[in-house]
């Protein structure tokens, strides 16, 4: 119950889905949690601070961090989880939807990570964990921009791992498969089930599958694990 006692974690997209699972886990394990999300949160724990911010807007993120400096004195763990997905054939993908995916899935993690690193350099300790996707490897039709942003997320972590390494900050990516969530509900169920059936571990991900790797990346003992992408379910 105290795996993260004394730690402060920031989770983007903390109000639902994978972000909510991770935020709940950190809270249950003793962390103070800051949640960044566009909407309100039903999470009412005393150790939870909710910040309403449009992650598609870089300036809004920077302003959120300005406020954060007044609420918390440290940030130890960041989980860049928030993402948007529009699955559509490239020739008919609305440019605005493609732009939104770039902004939320790639640019926002960049801004969040760099602002968080400014906290972490003070304590000389940090863990940045990006939530990636099996789409990077499987490259399904319709996911050209989504998969590209998630591939970019791994590259982002790998470069930041070099820049932040001297500050004892690790940067890694957890590429998840399908888990029951609002995002999954947007996709054709038969298509997802066919993809999952083709995996070496042919089942949907569970919260425990995800938290297992999050805990591994966040562990004190994982200071020598950085610039890595772990795919769940046997995706490679």
């Amino acid at each position: 119950m105290d795996l993260y006692l004394g730690k402060t974690a920031l989770v983007t997209g903390a109000t639902r889905g994978v972000g909510r699972i991770i935020a709940d886990h950190f809270l249950n394990e003793g962390a103070t949690v800051v949640g960044f999300a566009r909407g309100e949160s039903s999470l009412a724990a005393a150790a939870y601070h909710h910040v309403q911010v449009d992650l598609a807007d870089p300036m809004a993120i920077q302003k959120a961090f300005l406020g954060l400096h007044k609420q918390v004195t440290r940030l130890d763990i960041v989980v860049n989880n928030a993402a948007v997905l529009t699955s559509q054939y490239a020739m008919i993908m609305p440019p605005a939807a493609a732009q939104a995916m770039v902004n939320v899935n790639l640019l926002a993690p960049f801004i969040v990570s760099r602002e968080a690193a400014k906290f972490m350099r003070k304590t000389k300790w940090g863990r940045i964990i990006n939530i990636g996707s099996m789409a990077v490897s499987l490259e399904p039709m319709g996911d050209s921009v989504y998969a590209a942003t998630k591939a970019g997320l791994s590259t982002l972590a790998n470069v930041m791992a070099k820049e932040f390494g001297p500050m004892n900050v690790t940067c890694n990516t957890l590429a998840i498969t399908a888990i029951e969530s609002d995002m999954l509900a947007q996709l054709p169920r038969a298509k997802i089930e066919a993809i999952i059936a083709s995996l070496p571990a042919p089942r949907f991900a569970t919260p425990a599958d995800i938290l297992n790797v999050v805990d591994f990346f966040a562990a004190e003992a994982s200071s020598y694990v950085t610039a890595q992408t772990v795919f769940l379910g046997g995706v490679n």
Partner: protein, 102 residues
């Protein structure tokens, strides 16, 4: 303390923070004319980044607005704002004048 003195104190404070992280042999001589970037500077690129981040953070907290020292305007100047403590102080004062005229 006038605004120039306030900004100079922030810039010098950032260099003191850097010195606190450096070995004895790598300490930087700190003063109003200390070179930051270029042939005469003793800071490596990551050290300069640390100084910029500390200055930005201190300015942002004091003036309660996001302040970026590394936008296109800074990078395209004939004389870099990062040449020395003096040029950086001047550049910060210029930015502050725009968001909060003295």
């Amino acid at each position: 303390m006038d605004r120039r003195d306030e900004v100079l104190a922030i810039v010098l404070g950032a260099l003191e923070n850097l010195n606190a992280e450096l070995d004895e042999a790598d300490q930087i001589q700190i003063g109003p004319t200390t070179p930051l970037f270029g042939d005469d500077a003793t800071l490596d690129s990551l050290s300069l980044v640390s100084v910029i981040v500390d200055v930005e953070t201190a300015l942002t907290m004091k003036w309660d607005a996001p302040i970026s020292l590394t936008d296109d305007r800074a990078m395209s100047r004939a004389i870099s704002p990062f040449d020395s403590v003096g040029t950086l102080t001047d550049y910060v004062l210029e930015l502050l004048q725009e968001i909060s005229p003295a």
